[in-house]
């Protein structure tokens, strides 16, 4: 395997507290040397000038939908793992709402084999917590964990029954795996397709209130207070949810919250004109919610970022607003959108953003144990080089994802991954802006 010397970049490794200019030497599948002084290149090494760029641990997205098996016209493990690389992500965790649902160890094996065959980003499975994601019967979580499932979720659906939720939390606690909740009280969202409010009132569309998210988180943290599992609230949309999570964390619970680029940047008025690219679950809400979510990231209440990459075919999104599926894709444009919402707004700095995209999700999914989410000597050479100043325009047509459902299409943004290494293999190389 090849040797690469990443020269003169700003090395940010939040897990070890490093933020300094330096060199990083990748040899084979591992990091061989990390130094704040110059490393002389071994013979045959490829030297990559990283001046002006951030050298970070490979980015991790703990929440993507890769649609395989069953909906390969939307995305496959290969196309999704390729899209991850384009966006700077070296690891993704795929949700189990495939057809069939990922609720058996053999399906966890299937995902791993497909990901190996693809040879792009690492793909880990978030296994279904209940059989068929129906919320009725526990899935074989222990066997799935042995097969490599990194966490559990019925994402796409909420676990409705409090009794079942308790069983799932007890099982996850015993396995030492996180449970990721899709927080949606179905009785409050029946017929809902967008945020309940003035825009929905004018368009005549069914409203989906923020309280539908909040009541589930409230219920779950109360259940979990007696169980002590790692409880993760996915794709937060409401400022009200933040308060509940803060209270649980202050009380010492291992509760985390996740937010997506669209909930940090967009509001429900984007649904005007029955724009299905603005239809997502949970729905886009108000500017007040956007502000509260950004503030929660700044305050360390929300510690995980996830794209909720949700591919849908063009014809599916072309249906009328009520019939069109929920969701948008995010992997290839998430990084500059996070930077815009969180760094450019002054909420946090780049080192914190890197932490939110690396060591934080690694800890959530137990990936830090195998050296992911950090840059350590002898650790896996999963590295993302980011040019934080690179200007570019999001062009959904150019995505390698099989889908095009992106409301950010045409947005001018700043910041992009220039080099991506997975297991020491260079999978993406772009020329940084200052070298163009």
């Amino acid at each position: 395997m090849a040797t690469y010397l990443l020269r003169g970049g700003r090395i940010i490794d939040p897990a070890s507290g490093l933020d300094a200019t330096g060199d990083l030497l990748i040899d084979g599948a591992a990091i061989r040397e990390r130094s704040t002084s110059r490393i002389s290149p071994p013979s045959g090494a490829t030297v990559i000038d990283c001046e002006g760029c951030i050298v970070a641990p490979g980015l991790i997205d703990p929440h993507v939908h890769l649609r395989e098996p069953g909906q390969e016209h939307k995305e496959t493990i290969l196309s999704g793992a390729s899209a991850a690389i384009e966006g700077g992500f070296t690891t993704v965790c795929c949700m189990p709402n495939t057809t069939p649902a990922l609720d058996l160890p053999s399906l966890v094996d299937f995902v791993r084999l497909k990901a190996q065959e693809a040879g792009k980003a690492r793909v880990f499975t978030v296994g279904a917590a209940t059989v068929g994601r129906k919320g009725e019967e526990l899935a074989p979580m222990g066997a799935m964990a042995k097969a490599g499932a990194v966490a559990f979720s019925d994402d796409g659906d909420c676990i409705e029954s409090a009794a079942m939720m308790q069983k799932v939390l007890l099982t996850c606690a015993a396995l030492g795996k996180a449970f990721m909740q899709h927080c949606q009280d179905a009785s409050l969202t029946k017929g809902g397709v967008m945020n309940a409010g003035a825009v929905a009132a004018r368009l005549g569309l069914g409203g989906w209130p923020a309280v539908a998210e909040e009541v589930i988180i409230e219920r779950d943290v109360r259940l979990n207070a007696r169980v002590g599992a790692m409880y993760h609230a996915q794709h937060l949309s409401s400022g009200g949810s933040v308060e509940i999570i803060k209270r649980a964390r202050d009380a010492g619970q291992r509760v985390t919250g996740e937010v997506s680029p669209h909930h940090l940047l967009l509001t429900d008025d984007l649904c005007e004109g029955y724009n299905t690219q603005a239809k997502m679950n949970p729905p886009l809400r108000t500017a007040t919610d956007v502000q509260a979510l950004r503030q929660a990231v700044a305050d360390g209440i929300i510690t995980v970022l996830g794209t909720d990459h949700a591919p849908h075919a063009v014809a599916e999104k072309a249906r009328d607003f009520t019939a069109a599926p929920f969701g948008i894709i995010g992997l290839e444009c998430a990084l500059p959108l996070y930077a815009k919402a969180l760094v450019e707004s002054g909420a946090i700095d780049w080192p914190r953003l890197v932490a939110l995209l690396t060591i934080e999700p690694a800890r959530l999914c137990g990936l830090d144990g195998c050296g992911l989410g950090t840059l350590t000597v002898h650790g896996p050479a999963d590295v993302t080089v980011i040019d934080p100043a690179m200007p570019w325009t999001i062009d959904a047509e150019s995505f390698v994802s099989l889908s095009r459902n992106c409301p950010f299409d045409g947005w001018p943004v700043t910041g992009r991954a220039t080099h991506v290494f997975v297991r020491g293999e260079l999978l993406l190389a772009r020329t940084p802006a200052r070298q163009q």
Partner: protein, 311 residues
């Protein structure tokens, strides 16, 4: 998705200027004698075919458009596709494209999908008229409502109109409220909190123009008109209605006495007599303008059809 990208489409009241709405009202007035059969049919649609494409059941609106086409000298056929696979969003457009290819001049569309008429209009080259799309708008009903009120009350600036019932699920309430606001009237939306939410106040052009109230008795003393909405059980409003609906929100003979003497009563029909409105109120010759709405509905739809083919 485009709205009124073609001036010939008539998809929603929202986005119209006051002048555009007043032109339609003037045209409606000019059509009344034709609509009543006192003058012979016009020749505006001579040699033209209009398609009524109804993905949702309707009697009144369908017949009204059919009559309006006849009064303009055109030919009309109706496709009743309710309940078929064509009521789904994808084939809505496909069905419309097929009918357009038959050489029709104008398409009138009703469907259960909010935003459905705009979807069809986007796909078609011919003018499209929205005859009701889901819970979004029913703009010709909005037009005929304000035409009826203007005839009864004169200019609507500063007037106050109560719209009572299942506002949340009503496309009529949306179109009529927007039209009234455009003409400078105030609107009071009245009904149970499960069917009339505060967010409906966003329908107003300016803050305070639309008020939400859950107390019908307190809402009647200063209104110039009351528009009763049909309780729409088919739109899943059922679970939001309790058995005391009539006691709280029915327009009973006793409640009528709270109204100013000049106030008139409208209802888009079909009525649930004895539920949202008493027989004697619906048939009150002094106050009820319910059948006049139907006549002016034909005149209004003539105006909209003329606008579609002439501009």
């Amino acid at each position: 998705m485009r709205y009124l990208a073609s001036v010939h489409d008539f998809l929603q009241i929202e986005g119209l200027t006051r002048m555009q709405l007043e032109q339609l009202l003037d045209a409606t007035n000019g059509n009344v004698s034709h609509a009543e059969g006192r003058q012979p049919a016009k020749s505006t649609l001579d040699g033209k075919v209009v398609a009524n494409v109804f993905f949702e059941d309707s009697t009144r609106t369908r017949c009204s458009f059919e009559t309006a086409v006849h009064r303009l000298g055109g030919e009309v056929f109706t496709v009743a596709a309710a309940g078929s696979s064509a009521s789904k969003g994808e084939s809505l457009v496909d069905t419309a494209l097929n009918i357009e290819a038959m050489g029709v001049a104008v398409m009138v569309v009703r469907c259960a999908i909010s935003g459905g008429a705009a979807m069809v209009a986007k796909a078609l080259r011919i003018p499209v008229i929205n005859a009701g799309d889901g819970r979004h708008e029913h703009p010709t009903q909005g037009l005929l409502d304000v035409a009826t009120l203007r005839e009864a009350l004169g200019p609507l600036d500063g007037r106050c109109v109560a719209i009572v019932g299942d506002v949340a699920n009503s496309r009529v309430a949306r179109s009529t409220t927007k039209a009234l606001c455009l003409l400078g009237a105030r609107v009071r939306l009245v009904g149970p909190p499960t069917l009339v939410s505060r967010s409906m106040e966003a329908l107003g052009a300016v803050s305070g123009q639309v008020q939400v109230s859950h107390d019908l008795d307190a809402a009647l003393h200063d209104v110039d008109a009351v528009i009763m909405l049909r309780i729409q059980l088919e739109r899943a409003a059922g679970s939001a209605i309790s058995s005391d609906y009539r006691i709280l929100y029915g327009l009973t003979q006793a409640r009528i006495r709270r109204l100013p003497t000049h106030a008139v009563i409208l209802h888009p029909g079909p009525m649930n007599r004895g539920v949202e409105i008493d027989d004697s109120v619906a048939d009150d010759p002094g106050r009820s303008r319910i059948l006049r709405q139907v006549t002016l509905g034909v005149a209004s739809r003539m105006a909209v059809l003329e606008r579609a083919v002439i501009g």
